[in-house]
Amino acid sequence: MTLLNTFLLLAVALATPGLINRIRARLAGRRGIRFMQHLYDLRLRLRKGAVYSSTTTALFRTAPSVYLGAAIVAALTIPVGDLRPLLAFEGDLVCMAYTLALGRFALILAAMDTGSAFEGMGASREALYGALVEPALMLAGGTLALLTGCTSFARIFDPAVMPGAQFVIVLLLTAYVLVKIVFTESGRVPVDDPRTHLELTMIHEVMCLDYCGVDLAMIKMAGWLKTALFSLLAADTLAAAFCLRWWIAAPLALLLTGVSVGVVESTQARNKLVRNTTFILTVAALAALAFFTAYLLQLNIGLA
């Protein structure tokens, strides 16, 4: 079961970029690149060496490994539907959030290490939006913990523990918040634009400008894992509202992210940078709403 869980996690991580590309291409009236093109690119990068600027230190070289390692550890705590993840312990919910924060911290330090004006700007933006998205993530996690009384994802998404029908609205709202967090954390439109060539407008991409070869491949893989992790969380939450099974959660995660990101990126412009703050704070406000609704509902049940 654990093996299947890890396999599904990887499958979602690897298929999501392809699905996004395919949907964007179709909406633009194009055929699009191969579904697995990003994997060929990855193979290419893994075969390459790396070039380092002479102003950088060991900080810069270790950051990609820390970033990828953090993403792997965090992803391993995520269950797919009713399957059991590889890592599960009380409090892994908080551990997941801050392991990811550790990875982000490493990348920000590395960006500052290059001494480039562009990367410093990107680091400052990433730090700001990372800090803003944290309350949203913790509140969404807190809502799930509140509903089930557990602080481990493996136990939260256990069909036996999942609460009854009166919490459907809370679960839906939390799933919505988590989908929005996917957009923010994986740097997609409207928060960031992963395809842009304009350094001045980039957030995540600009921090990776000095990386190439293996290092860039590691950052890319970590990005896919992060996207998969959050979309699986969102899919699990959504599935918990009606039927928490792995064969529902896994395709749901893929569709949720692939389709919503693909459609939004084709039809919408990205935010003005200052508006991102409002965007993320709105998500945090929704998370707070979900949290307090859950809390009130639970009080009510306690009284009855």
Partner: protein, 509 residues
Amino acid sequence: MNWLITDNTAPAAALGKIPEVSYADFYNDLAAKLADVRYHVAHYFALPSGDRLRFFCLLLDDNTGQVLLASHAMGYHDETALPSLTALHPALHPFERDIAERYGVRFDSMPWPKPLRFPFDRFDRSSSMDNYPFYTMKGGSLHEVNVGPIHAGIIEPGAFRFICNGEQVLHLEIALGYQHRGIEHLFEHTDNLLRRMCLAETVAGDSAVAHATAFAEAVEKLTKRERPAELERERTVALELERMAMQIADTGALSMDVGYQLGQVACEALRTLTINTTQAWCGNRFGKGLVRPHGTDHPLTPEKARMIRRNVGEIARRYAEVCRDIESSPTLLARFEQCGIVPREEMQRIGGVGQAARASGLARDIRTSHPWASFAKCLHHRSIVQQQGDVMARLTERCREAAQSAGYIDRLLELYEQKYAAGPTPCPAPDYTAALAPSSLSFGLVEGWRGETCHVAVTDPEGRIAAVRIKDPSLHNWLALALAVRGEGISDFPICNKSFNLSYCGHDL
């Protein structure tokens, strides 16, 4: 003070007839005239002749359509400093900087005495890009961001130095001149008119037709021969096709910069269709080879005219849909509105021209104020003017102008089809050998898609072109871009930049 009064359709002016006045008179009169919004300077340059340096000024009167010519002179080795007009009217800064850079003329109290384009025969050889006097500010919370010297998208050189407070841009300084090719020198160092035409087409690749038309105009005014009206119409069709292509391309580029994929791909497809139409006509997508003096190598045929009309109608229809989508999409409006504003007063002070000026409410349009060729005859152009001066205004300007151009092309080709449905082509072959008027000055003033494009040709006593002076509208408008991003977030610079889409090589010559 005396000015020689002419207009945009009159033949060349003899050099002797252009009044030569003292600098004090010139200074006072020009300063007084430029205070009135109806006047702006199309060109102001110096030409050495023997041991004298003669300064020519072309002043445009937008109300009456007159072009006023005057000159003043000083000894070539005279080192007296002239009081700077830029101090009163910043619009003159590129001209005075150019004169100072080339001939070492000193302008007193010039507020922005910086090199312009580093020509190889510049007066001060020690001035180079490496010691460009960038503007600096000091402060603990300020940082500088240098973008360039190569533009990552179009691979043209220009250094942009931002002084920022966090995300906010306090000042942007644009240093150009990397791409100086000495194109004016190349004009002087050949006697071959065909080669000169080809050079004119390469002044700015995206305005090939506008520059070629401006130069052809200047040459034809020197020969004083009548042109067939057909030729003028064909050139106008080419010019408007170029305008359509570029306005559509820039709409796509703006969509791309804000991550709006549908607008981007739709505009890219339409732009390709437009330039392919030009290619089907003359064999080159940018209209190179189409404009030649006194004739054309690619006369329109009824089949080609029909093909162009059909394509242009299709493009206009589909482009209107894209524009409607953009103007009704909240996420796009949120990006474009209230961003990169250049108010009308600032645009006027810095001498903005063309569509950027019109988007700020400054109705500078050679097609209206100084009509030439078809615009003086069968078309009566009414400029489209927006008031807001933001990115959205410049985008709307593009949408409307492209639709207007499509209308003109359709009208001109309809006329053509009615007249020449069966008969042979009325356009003659080009004539490169016609004798030019000696010791004269002639100019071609054309409204390209970016704005006022001016070529001035001066002939020597033997009737050979002795000097050519070129002005691309970008020369004025780069400063407008610098002003537009002041106070904006640095991440909005790309869309401000695209909304102007200025030329590097047109500036650098």
